[in-house]
């Protein structure tokens, strides 16, 4: 029946509405010409409906498809990959409108629509996006209702009400399935949205890169602690180390990529926390030193950083236990330590000379490091995000001329000096600090918290971290970037509407915090509800648990929910036959046992008369019942079940007892 031609007006209208709603969230990543394509297709389809235009013929359709393919190729550069595929899907969804003649075509369109909604989730999965997606889904279901051959579907609102009702009624069951349906790992790998737009640390660093990051308020990750959150000044989130210096740029050395965990020993009290990381498009994870993670989260590389096998392309939740006081690589001459002494062949002569001078003055590494830090503290260095450009001998220029810079400058310069003085050292890139959300006991770390610091090695002690920035701008470490910046720098001044700029407005800050909290819960409990998280939750609920029991709970609760809904929908109590007719049926059965049967079409009155003739002794009781019944049924008398029952039982006791004839 679905192949019958013709799509009702209301269904077409709802389809167009649904299409707009489906396409809107895709607009962020769709090329602009797609809007024109949709407008054209929708206009054409409406004209077809009004009999003012014809369906496109084969040539027109072929031309359109080629045009779209060319458009995608031009704007995306490729036809493969998720990004291009999603554009292609939306284009198909749009063009299908033009050749939609029959109900079957409309069904194809609706199913495609559901797919487009799912695709949108791959690009945006916040609370608002999820709530919004209920709109297109309801509209698509409404269009589905509108395709039915019913007068019902000829009015605009009843189908919408029905579809909305269906969605609402489906919610409890959906929640049940969401919680209990077993999650599994990906069956095969699929193309992912490309990470063009993702800002974050990269595996090589020029000072300007971090300045770039400091302008972004995008979330990098959240960390929730099981115990007290440590003070800000101790929160150095390691991402990676930069060991190779070419005179301008610090980058990762090949040696750091050796997937062999270095030797280290635990000391002090551990810290337990969870991290929900935003997609970074990179493989490394963030942790406080020295982190331990489960085997399937990632593995520790030679420079103490944690790395996954695949890039983090969707929010990722992992658990870490950190040992802040651990001793790292305290053995004599760890392999690859020479990389931490590498310097360019030439350049920056003044810095090298100063390093030699320091070396002569402080033979002890610790003393030398303290002297360098002291230097940064005493001399008039300025912490700023807008330093002057540096000359070709960048370290010299910074240390002895400009003396204005931010973490990357200080860390880079200090590492250079330490290496020149013969102390193995390297730059650590990561994040520092974060904003505490008091109600949630978690910390949010944003891109502007990106930071670089230094660690140096000495025999017997292993690696130690120091932060030259702390000497210059302790408020950066203790309170955050905003406090450290001077008036001229301006915190987030290219984002005038970022609520982060208005933290002094208490109510706005409160609002922002609540919203962040909501998002955190969403990330943690909805988006992060995958394999391990599910297992943990279910174990919490049921103690020990196995899949068999889970299936039982799922089926049992599901049946209960459906049963309740069925009761609400079918209202079986309303279908019970009325008491008068029930009583009359009993009366008939009673008399039938005494051989008086009502004939088809015989009224209550004539039946009673006939029965009274056949059973003269009980004539009075028969008459009483018949009159009572007639009064209630036909004469509009008050309906009383008891009166009928009484008359019936009188009759029964008047008759001789008989089970059957």
């Amino acid at each position: 029946m679905s192949s019958l031609p013709g799509i009702p007006r209301i269904a077409l209208t709802w389809l167009l509405v649904a299409q707009v709603l489906v396409i809107v969230p895709h607009l962020v990543h769709l090329p602009l010409w797609m809007i024109a394509l949709w407008l054209g297709a929708a206009g054409w389809r409406v004209q077809i409906f009004r009999m003012r235009a014809r369906y496109p013929n084969g040539w027109a359709k072929g031309g359109l498809v080629l045009l779209v393919l060319a458009g995608i190729l031009l704007s995306r550069g490729t036809l493969v990959g998720l990004d291009a595929a999603s554009v292609l899907l939306i284009a198909t969804f749009t063009l299908k409108l033009l050749e939609m003649r029959t109900r079957r075509d409309a069904l194809v369109l609706i199913f495609l629509g559901f797919f487009c909604v799912v695709t949108a989730y791959l690009f945006e999965d916040g609370i608002l996006a999820a709530l919004y997606s209920l709109l297109p889904v309801t509209a698509l279901l409404t269009a589905l209702v509108g395709l039915q051959h019913s007068g019902f579907a000829e009015r605009p609102w009843p189908p919408l009400r029905l579809a909305g009702g269906l969605v609402l009624q489906a919610v409890p069951l959906m929640l049940l399935l969401f919680v209990f349906f077993p999650r599994m790992g990906p069956l095969w790998s699929l193309p992912l949205p490309n990470d063009k737009g993702v800002t974050g640390l990269s595996d090589s660093m020029e000072p300007a890169d971090i300045a770039e990051l400091s302008r972004s308020s995008a979330l990098a990750f959240r960390a929730s602690f099981e115990s007290e959150v440590p003070p800000r000044g101790q929160l150095y989130w390691r991402a990676l180390t930069l060991e190779r210096f070419d005179g301008r740029r610090w980058s990762q050395s090949g040696y750091a990529d050796v997937p062999v965990a270095p030797q280290w020993s635990k000391a002090g009290a551990p810290l337990d926390y969870n991290i929900i990381m935003q997609p970074s498009g990179k493989r490394w994870l963030y942790a406080l030193d020295v982190g331990e993670m489960a085997q399937d989260s990632g593995r520790m590389m030679n420079d103490f950083r944690w790395q996954r096998l695949r890039p983090v392309d969707r929010p990722l939740l992992y658990q870490v236990r950190s040992w802040p006081e651990a001793v790292r690589q305290a053995q004599a001459e760890p392999p690859g330590i020479r990389q931490a002494l590498q310097l360019p062949q030439q350049g920056d002569p003044r810095s090298r000379a100063w390093a030699a001078e320091l070396k002569a003055q402080y033979p002890q590494s610790d003393a030398l490091v303290a002297a360098v830090l002291q230097h940064f503290n005493r001399e008039p260095y300025v912490y700023t995000l807008r330093p002057q450009p540096l000359g070709s001998d960048s370290v010299d220029d910074f240390l002895f001329n400009t003396r204005r810079g931010f973490c990357a400058h200080y860390a880079g310069a200090m590492t250079f000096v330490l290496r020149a003085a013969g102390i193995p050292a390297r730059v650590v890139a990561g994040y520092q600090g974060g904003e505490l959300n008091p109600s949630g006991n978690y910390i949010q770390v944003r891109q502007f918290d990106a930071h670089a610091w230094v660690e140096y090695w000495q025999p017997g002690q292993g690696w130690r971290s120091v932060d030259p920035t702390f000497q210059v701008a302790p408020e950066r470490i203790e309170q955050g970037l905003e406090e450290a910046l001077t008036e001229e720098d301006g915190f987030l001044d290219d984002q005038p509407f970022s609520p982060l700029r208005y933290r002094e407005l208490a109510w706005l800050n409160q609002l922002r915090m609540s919203w962040e909290n909501l998002n955190y819960g969403w990330q943690r409990w909805v988006l992060g509800y995958q394999g391990e998280q599910q297992l943990k939750l279910l174990q919490n609920w049921f103690g020990s648990f196995d899949w068999q029991r889970l299936a039982l709970v799922l089926v049992g609760t599901g049946a209960l929910l459906i049963g309740l809904l069925a009761l609400c929908l079918l209202k079986p109590w309303q279908q019970r036959p009325d008491p008068q007719r029930q009583a009359f049926r009993k009366y008939e059965r009673l008399l039938a046992r005494h051989d008086v049967r009502r004939e088809a079409g015989e009224g209550a009155r004539s039946f009673a008369l006939r029965a009274a003739q056949q059973l003269p002794e009980q004539a009075a009781q028969i008459e009483t019942f018949a009159r009572c019944f007639e009064q209630q049924r036909y004469a509009g008398g008050p309906a009383s079940r008891d009166a009928l029952r009484k008359a019936l039982s009188d009759l029964r006791s008047a008759l001789p007892w008989r089970l059957s004839r």
Partner: protein
Amino acid sequence: MRAALKPLWRRWLAKRIPPAASVRLNQRRIFILPSRVGAVFAVALLLMLLVGINYQNSLAYGLTFLLVSVFVVTILHTYRNLAGLVLKAGGGGAVFVGEHARFRVRLESPERERQAVALGWPPSDLVVRDVPRQGQTEVDLSQPAVRRGWLRPERLRVESRFPLGLLVAWSWVDLDQAVLVYPRPLEGELPLSAGLGDEEEEGMRARGQGADDFQGLREYQPGDSKRRLDWKAYSRGQGLLVKDFAMLSGRDLWLDFDSLGGDSEQRLSLLCHWVLQFTERQQAFGLQLPGQVIAPDYGEGHRDACLRALALFGARA
């Protein structure tokens, strides 16, 4: 396999849903399964689930589960659209072979309104109707009348795909309906056998009403042909009078099966044609079939009796 199971299936159905002039659909009588659209929907859901699994995307999981739940909830809605619906057989007039026999079915909904209830005999198209709340709808169904005699249709399919078309709830009901099918009228020469052997008797006796000879006027009685009303007398204020004709018994017309040529169906068709012709002309006639004789008479009642005899000829033997 299918053919072998058919009688079994019929017997089971007859036990489960016995034939009756009025059938109320309930959970014993309603079957429900996903429709073809529903199967495609399920495949689409599976693909969406794969997206959810492969991208580890909770929202894709969520939407898939939402649509699965909508599907499940729709089972109840589709069932509800049929449950409690009462189907009643309405009358259907007799037809001739080659015409369409009409079966009237009344749909009553004691409770809620019902959308898009489809009735019919597959594989022909079903008729779709809405039933108002606490109201009723009549549906005229038709089936080609192919053979004379009683036409008893197959079990009637009642189905509903409302609201989403993903599921189909259906029932097979037997409303115990039957339509009499007369033979197809066939024009042809008729060797008239007037009278039953007493042709030599020339005396004319008036015998009952006829169309041959004017006898006088009498009072109108319901059932009299309007063509015989004496309008002139009526305009004179004498009331409704009917011109009374007498049939001349000596020229009684007899339609005789045995006097015709051709096979029996052709003969019946020819007889049928002449029954209609004579009734049209208001002529009295008798019908003689092997084993059955209908005395000469005229009028619509007589015609129907004759046609019935023709329709059922040989059926009981």
